[in-house]
């Protein structure tokens, strides 16, 4: 990953960007996001398979935008997130330098977002074996078993909203769950409040999820919330033939429609 460090140094010392958002070693042998603003600090940047944070999260926040132009270390799921955020008018192409990193830990540079679009279409992201198994297990269950499974999982939820906090697609300044007039979702972490929250979160991410799995990763209670998004992502692909984060066309799934959408349940 020396190329990445060199490139970061070059960008910072030439003042092409004010900050490089990347990964560094944290405490306890874990990886954490890093904000590098001095060229001499660029040596702490790294990339490996353990880098799971979705750094697209930081690209549109007030706090980071204030710093100035940014460069971001972008594994495939960050690339997809960048495309989704661009189609939703949250990011502008000239505000950002994208330092792509492949799963083989190689640096790729993109001249523009169009090149990112081409690249992500040529390099599909596979689901982790563990997640694939869990989805198969859930699909094999009867509906009542699924209900029980999710009720058990949601009973652990403490409504810390880490799943929301870590997701770059939760870009609203004020989330529906924070409204109290009218109050859509009860604030307490009881069964109904938890169920309503997770159903709403999954619905608001439907057709916009970059499938990074970071929401499940962030959950302190180990609830596999990411599986809700992963499964609907598969269903949406079956229904509409599209996946989020593969296009720069401004056609978010639920804000567009086709006159020939095919359903089989409306009487």
């Amino acid at each position: 990953m020396n190329k990445l460090k060199e490139k970061a140094k070059e960008l910072l010392s030439s003042r092409a960007v004010q900050v490089v958002v990347g990964y560094e070693e944290g405490t306890g042998g874990k990886i954490r996001p890093a904000f590098v603003s001095r060229p001499e600090d660029a040596d702490k940047l790294l990339y490996n398979a353990d880098c799971h944070h979705n750094l697209a999260l930081y690209l549109y926040k007030h706090e980071t935008k204030r710093i100035g132009k940014m460069a971001v270390v972008a594994p495939p799921f960050v690339l997809r997130s960048i495309l989704i955020l661009t189609t939703e008018f949250q990011l502008e192409e000239d505000s950002l330098v994208v330092l792509g990193v492949t799963p083989e830990e190689e640096l790729i540079e993109f001249a523009n977002f169009k090149e990112i679009e081409t690249w992500v279409n040529q390099h599909p992201i596979g689901m982790k074996e563990k997640d694939r198994e869990m989805l198969n297990r859930l699909n094999a269950m009867s509906r009542d078993e699924r209900w029980q499974f999710w009720q058990n999982e949601f009973s652990k939820c403490i409504k810390c909203f880490a799943c929301r906090g870590t997701c770059p697609m939760c870009s609203c300044f004020r989330c529906t769950v924070d409204y109290n007039a009218p109050q859509w979702i009860s604030v307490g972490s009881h069964q109904l409040g938890n169920f309503d929250w997770h159903l709403m979160r999954a619905m608001h991410l439907a057709g916009r999820c970059s499938v990074c799995g970071q929401c499940g990763e962030a959950c302190p209670m180990d609830i596999p919330v990411h599986l809700l998004s992963f499964q609907i992502n598969e269903d949406i692909f079956k229904m509409f033939g599209s996946r989020a984060g593969l296009t720069l066309k401004k056609e978010s799934l639920l804000s567009t429609w086709k006159s020939n959408d095919v359903e089989n349940f409306i009487r």
């Binding site: 859930l138 509906r143 009542d144 078993e145 699924r146 209900w147 029980q148 499974f149 999710w150 009720q151 529906t176 859509w184 979702i185 009860s186 307490g188 009881h190 069964q191 109904l192 409040g193 169920f195 309503d196 997770h198 159903l199 709403m200 999954a202 619905m203 439907a206 057709g207 809700l228 499964q231 609907i232 269903d235 949406i236 229904m239 799934l253 639920l254 804000s255 567009t256 429609w257 086709k258 006159s259 959408d261 359903e263 349940f265 409306i266 009487r267």
Partner: protein
């Protein structure tokens, strides 16, 4: 024990289904009285959170109905709604909710008889399914929580 009378909440659009239900009345067509109609400007306005609220407040079944495709007063509200319901139904299915308790339909202002049939059929099917205890038991957690957090 009394026979189970399901509570049905109907979310309907102002321009087609509400007018259709009006026509049912002016045509003197009798239909099941289990339905509570809530009028919306458009099916595109019906947020899925409203459906969650209806179940949590004790509905056993839900009807969502509006203008036929290409008949929307606002041109495309029902097309937006159709996509939303396609995804929402699948999401409910994935989370183990009994999605067949929500009946979607297109009822135009001229289809008073269709509205009567729709309500009657829905009431019949919900009667077969019985009360939605599962969801209602889950919703009780809110009352318990409110008592302990007064």
């Amino acid at each position: 024990m009394d026979q189970f009378e399901p509570k049905i909440v109907a979310f309907v659009c102002n321009w087609c289904t509400y007018a259709g239900a009006d026509l049912t009345g002016t045509s003197r067509l009798k239909y099941a009285h289990n339905v509570r109609i809530i009028r919306f400007p458009c099916t595109g306005r019906i947020d899925f959170l409203l459906l969650q609220q209806a179940f949590a407040k004790g509905a056993d079944g839900i009807i969502v109905s509006g203008c036929h495709p290409n008949d929307c007063h606002y041109t495309s509200g029902n097309f937006h709604a159709r996509r939303r319901w396609m995804v929402f139904r699948q999401m409910l299915e994935n989370m183990g909710v009994e999605a067949e308790r929500i009946v979607f339909s297109w009822v135009s202002a001229a289809e008073g008889a269709k509205w009567a049939d729709l309500v009657n059929e829905t009431v019949e099917s919900i009667k077969k399914l019985g009360p939605y205890h599962k969801y209602q038991d889950m919703a009780k957690s809110l009352e318990e929580w409110e008592v302990t957090h007064e």
